[in-house]
Symmetry: C4
Subunit: 227 residues, 4 copies
């Protein structure tokens, strides 16, 4: 894949994030693992002013190779690409309901099949960063807390996390898939918010129902879609 | 009615579901009882990409007769058409407020005349499926739980149900009527959510008020509309 | 004013109700007190299909003079025009937040200046109708309960009411003013809903602040707008 | 800067307020400190009817120099420009969630990084005005209560306040910046509302996280954007 093609894909995914009103504060990236480069939204540029040449391209070490100054969250993305080798796209948003759960520092329990269609279990929430972790390495430490929260999970089976007091990161096999998962997460977060308002002590769905819905759409036995 | 005409009606009803933002995850069907065939949304195709030739047509036994692979919820629709012989259209959505009540596993009480204009009593919620019912016959078992929840009710007088931990199914005399009821249900669910937030112990409306509003619009003594 | 001109004004006000998404279930009327006639939305016709010739025109006794079959709520409107001689327009909606307060059977307290700019005190809620009142004279009895709830108030100083378990009626010097007040009521109801969620025991605003804001915009000492 | 250019900037900022649906009841102003004049929205004119010639221009003493009758909130704006010499634009709105916090008379705690990106600490809420302060000098007394609530804070580091039982005022280096801060405040208020619903006892973010995010975007060490 050419660098320009990677920039075009990341431009489209960032534009989709803006168009779906998921965030006025987010950023999307995609990695070309063969070339070892990551394309990501430039810092502080409104979605509607993004141009393909301006999409930042950096090495996995964070060296700028093309485009504008990359998002200040770039070190978080790079660390996640290094740790989660099965993911090729990442979307960070401040979407309203997912961010509300993050600010309450609560994981989102699986309360229904909309959740189970996308996430094979609760969406985890990171621990609060220590004061030291809010220092110069803040963005990399954010990734470290995410990796810690995902321990024991396959990232493509739980393709999102809440960063405590901050907001969600979602990921997938491409930038477009990451945006899709960010959108699903926001809807799932809204449903779960309403549900706990209606019943603060509601139980998570039975494991058999979670398994049924996740496996309808994912993996070898999936029977959803035009296969 | 020709098969193509049935497909056109189902295409329009599914498009209406998408346009009214009732669901990114739903599906609508309609039955031609004379021909013994059901048209339904194909599985995994976005609303905006639906074409009339692609609308799935199946027999009441689930055999595909035309169009793309049908929605994975097709066995639920077919079972409901067999059990509820007065209904000819079904709409399944994950609309936000109706799904929230479903996730809280609470029926929606009749708290006002908006509800009474459409539903002659509470909107029931199914029991939770057993682990066995989440097996290979999951979609048919979902219909069985719906039929159980509607026991003793006339489906056209209570044209919707909540499937516990999942979301709503609505129905009516046609696919278009089913979508209309799905939209009314979502508004009624939103009103009821707000109402129980304002007063957790609010009473249902008196039977006389429910009867007055339901009978203004339905049945022999109706006096609403241009008759 | 000609009957046609009255119909045109009522058509525009009903269209405004639909366009502002205040209601899929409402109706607006205006009275020509010199001619003794009322124009009102026809029953069961979607807003976007309304045509000026179809707007119903009735006498104050309810006799149809022109147009389609009038709204089934017409007896409520007529009774209010007879009782409240300072009002010339009425808008009935099922707007989400105002209807939620009506379903909770709670008056809306004055919690801020947005409220005080439009309503000189709480927005009252009627008592629940008796079973007898839900009989053949239901719509007229609804008006009787409204008139009872407004007792001692000047309708133009409190230009709206909640009908218990039903929804709001708003009014004003014209159909357009009634729609304006219905829209203000919905925003005020939303603000009050959020406010009691944040603090269930919140106090109403001091009388001096209510007076200051209401009198900035209404009456002899008003100093708001281009006078 | 010419007076006309100031009017054009204020026209654009008021139009942005309307377009972003932040308020049907707000007003924006900007000061030209060299010329000693303030341009502000005229009173009672809908956003879509604003014309550049109609934008009111007043001296710092409130004398009208050009345009229509200025907003009735003009004395509040003028007093703030006199007290806060680092700000050159002010936006007043009745945006839904910020106004809800104002009506609950609660400051908005810093519960996440979206807040910390814009406000270096809680957004204060004024005390309730006394009955005397609701007299003829009401609008100036509103400013006095704001100034009291900001005591000890640098206005550009906390560029908004809630006026108790009323709504928010936001400010910045220009009218456009004030609107930007009003929009950020509304989103932050919505997030905080949801968060306290999920956890009424939630803690504010650690000081180190607040500092990290505020300083990423503001001041000498900022590293956000294309610098």
């Amino acid at each position: 894949m050419s660098t320009r093609s990677l920039q075009e894909r990341v431009l489209a995914a960032n534009a989709a994030l803006g168009a779906r009103a998921l965030s006025t504060f987010g950023n999307v990236s995609e990695i070309d693992r063969d070339a070892g480069v990551v394309a990501i939204k430039p810092s502080g540029v409104p979605y509607e002013e993004l141009r393909v040449d301006g999409i930042s391209v950096v090495s996995l070490d964070g060296e700028r190779l093309a485009g504008l100054v990359p998002s200040s969250d770039t070190p978080t993305h790079l660390e996640l690409y290094r740790a989660f080798t099965t993911i090729d796209g990442i979307a960070h948003t401040h979407s309203t309901y997912a961010t509300s759960w993050a600010q309450a520092r609560r994981p989102i329990p699986c309360l229904g099949t909309t959740h189970a269609d996308y996430f094979n279990g609760p969406v985890p929430c990171t621990r609060t960063l220590t004061d030291d972790e809010c220092g110069d390495e803040y963005e990399r430490m954010t990734a470290a807390a995410i990796i810690e929260a995902l321990e024991g999970l396959e990232p493509l089976e739980v393709p999102a996390v809440l960063v405590a007091s901050h907001g969600p990161f979602a990921w997938g096999a491409s930038a477009a898939a990451a945006v899709e998962h960010a959108a699903a997460l926001e809807e799932v977060a809204h449903l779960a918010y309403n549900t706990v308002v209606l019943d603060a002590a509601v139980d998570a769905v039975p494991a058999a129902l979670l398994e049924r819905h996740f496996r309808r759409k994912h993996g070898a036995a999936a029977y959803y879609g035009q296969r």
